[in-house]
């Protein structure tokens, strides 16, 4: 049975949403920052052997926004899952994390959200430990699009949550 699910990556600009998708879909990475305007839509099939199901993730790479309330509502129609991405090296990208998650949960109460602290390659484990109360308690995955760390796991994990 073909299952197709729309997932949306959301978060401030420059946090690495496009890089995570590029790493997941094409397994490539570039240091050059090219701003995303509007939406890029890509898809990738994820095999879930333990559930005997294949799932096509239609991945919406939204342009970054420092105010989540400015996200165009049309982009979110029919969303099955969210990936909220922030940049571990820039506090401005996680200062409103709790409020942003509340904003999404209120509008999409049954839609799974996974929170990702990206650019793990640029911070130490000690830094993450020290910021447990700031962002640590919300985070599902620490990723590095550059090294590929945890990137596959993020999408697979969300895919599993979508077919439950």
């Amino acid at each position: 049975m073909k299952i197709s699910k729309k997932i949306v990556l959301i978060g401030h600009f420059g946090v690495g949403k496009s890089s995570l998708i590029r790493r997941f879909v094409e397994d490539t990475f570039t240091e050059d920052y090219k701003v995303t305007i509007g939406v890029h839509v890509l898809k990738k099939e994820v095999k879930l052997p333990e559930t005997d199901k294949d799932i096509t993730l239609v991945i919406w790479d939204l342009e970054g926004n420092d105010d989540i309330t400015n996200t165009r509502p049309s982009y979110l129609i029919g969303t099955n899952g969210f990936l909220y991405v922030f940049d571990l090296t820039r506090p401005a990208t996680y200062e409103k994390l709790s409020n942003d998650l509340d904003y999404i949960s209120e509008r999409f109460p049954k839609t799974p959200i996974k929170v990702i602290g990206n650019k793990k390659d640029l911070v130490t484990n000690e830094f993450i430990k020290q910021n447990k109360e700031v962002f640590g308690r919300f985070v599902d995955f620490y990723t590095s699009a550059k090294s590929g760390k945890n990137v596959e796991d993020v999408f697979t994990n969300l895919a599993k949550a979508l077919i439950k």
């Binding site: 600009f13 420059g14 701003v35 305007i37 509007g38 939406v39 839509v41 420092d66 820039r90």
Partner: protein, 506 residues
């Protein structure tokens, strides 16, 4: 011609399509995507896979702005897509508006804006990081210097004690090396601490009335010997019209003059050092006093003059002259606290002249007798005094024990923990208490507060002298408020300890 114009000046193009509810394309004008009738809209681009939900709605119009698609030539086009459904049996309509040119401009603007925001955030973080690093450095210097003080106290005091144990000439010579090394180390720690205080903005002057002529004579005495030891002549001219008592910070003034004279002697191999002090002017209860130190030393090149006041700067790269290069940086800052500055006039190979005008307070209430003459106060030699030492450092305990034991008229009782102090005072009477400030799990000033609250009136009067390296102005204020009478600064030597104790054991 029109076709050429269209190619040369492309405007947005629109493609209209009619689709069934399952996404099958029934009609298309093939403007962007050609020959697609019969295909499912999802096959054109993954974007359309996500709009099936919208197709099921009735009489709705959704506009998806700035959607990146790939055309049949594999070129990226940036579009707005309109999905319109109707409330009767009419099939949904999809319109693709190719706005690539418009959005390309937007992309450029957004790129510049985002990069600028990210760069400013990174810059802010770098500043925060540098500030944290600076704070860490200052805390590290303060703590590290503090930890050095106890062992240094041990070296200084035991060196004094050792001197009196009947050493032969060779041993005394070795001891002189220990003495001079530990004195240099002590000065270095003081300088490093001063620099860290300056950088933290915590170095303040403690203004008090003092006899400036006495201070100058005292300095002269010390440096005359130093100059003579190097074969130099120290010439001093202290003007007779200098005020007798002025308000200023005598310790810091001494530090500035010492630094300038030390340098003058250090960098002069032959000739004279001239130290002139004269009254510049008196105005509005302030005396401006001019200090000038001239030498016939190696001199400073014009381009290097600014550098000499920078921390850790030694112009002599060959290390002929020892020193951390902190003295002038500290002197410059101390003088700046009096709203003045040090000026330098120097010729390479001929010598240097350092001068400054420092303002002092003048007050008719300043009286010579109000200035403590600590050296004249001595305890009665036949009386035995009981002293309580509150100190956790074994080196400091042993140093004080040895110094006091050598005098023969002190009983010393030692406690190492803050919680033991009050019970010990309840058991025994003490003439004086020496109180370390930083104890395990407690602070000496807090313990002193408890002592002052004890019911027995005598305990309220027992002099408490703090032993500490922490002598910032706010620290001293806190000690006084807690009931501490005075402070002996670590590291201390025999003279510093005994003179302070004797001052209070009248």
């Amino acid at each position: 011609m029109l076709d050429n114009y269209k190619k040369e000046h492309p405007q947005s193009v629109n493609q209209y399509m009619i689709v069934q509810l399952d996404g099958t394309i029934t009609e298309s004008d093939d403007v962007i995507y050609k020959n697609i009738v019969g295909e499912n809209i999802s096959e054109i681009h993954p974007f359309f896979e996500s709009i099936h939900e919208a197709l099921q709605e009735k009489n709705k119009r959704h506009v998806f702005s700035c959607i990146h698609l790939t055309d049949q030539n594999n070129q990226t086009i940036i579009t707005d897509i309109v999905v319109k459904t109707f409330d009767n049996d009419k099939l949904p309509m999809i319109v693709i508006l190719d706005l690539t040119l418009h959005y390309d401009n937007y992309q450029t603007t957004a790129q510049v804006r985002n990069e600028s925001v990210i760069n400013s955030q990174i810059l802010e973080l770098k500043n925060d990081y540098l500030q944290e690093k600076e704070a860490f450095k200052n805390a590290f210097i303060a703590n590290f210097s503090h930890e050095l003080r106890d062992p240094l106290t041990g070296i200084l005091t035991f060196s004094d004690i050792l001197k009196k144990t009947g050493l032969n000439d060779e041993q005394l010579n070795y001891l002189k090396v220990i003495d001079s090394s530990s004195s240099y180390l002590k000065q270095l720690i003081e300088d490093i601490l001063d620099i860290s205080k300056i950088e933290a903005g915590r170095l303040e002057l403690v203004i008090t009335p003092f006899d400036i002529r006495e201070l100058l004579e005292d300095i002269k005495k010390g440096f005359k010997i130093k100059a003579e030891q190097k074969g130099l002549e120290l010439i001093t001219n202290f003007n007779n019209n200098l005020p007798l008592i002025v308000g200023g910070d005598p310790l810091r003034l001494r530090q500035v003059i010492n630094n300038l004279l030390e340098n003058a002697i250090k960098f002069t191999e032959v000739g004279t050092i001239t130290f002139n002090v004269s009254l510049n002017q008196i105005r509005a209860q302030k005396a401006s006093i001019h200090f000038q130190i001239m030498d016939t030393g190696i001199g400073i090149a014009e381009d290097d003059v600014e550098q000499i006041f920078t921390s850790f700067t030694q112009l002599n790269k060959a290390s002929t002259y020892k020193g951390a290069g902190l003295g002038l940086a500290i002197a410059k800052h101390l003088v700046s606290l009096t709203d003045s500055k040090i000026s330098v006039d120097s010729t390479l190979g001929e010598g240097s002249t350092f001068s400054t005008n420092i303002n002092f307070k003048l007050d008719h209430n300043y009286k010579l007798k109000s200035i403590k003459k600590t050296k004249e106060i001595k305890p009665k030699s036949d009386k035995k005094y009981s002293i309580l030492l509150v100190e956790d450092s074994e080196i400091t305990q042993l140093s004080i024990l040895k110094i006091l034991a050598s005098k023969g008229n002190y009983f010393l009782d030692i406690v190492t923990k803050g919680e033991d102090v009050v019970p010990r005072i309840e058991q025994s009477e003490f003439d004086l208490i020496l109180m370390d400030i930083k104890l395990p799990n407690s602070y000496g000033d807090e313990i002193t507060k408890l002592i002052r609250k004890m019911p027995d009136r005598d305990h309220k009067k027992t002099p408490v002298i703090a032993l500490t390296a922490r002598v910032f102005k706010d620290d001293l204020r806190r000690y006084k408020k807690a009931g501490i009478n005075d402070v002996i600064k670590k590291p201390f030597d025999e003279d510093a300890l005994l003179s302070k104790i004797e001052e209070y054991l009248k």
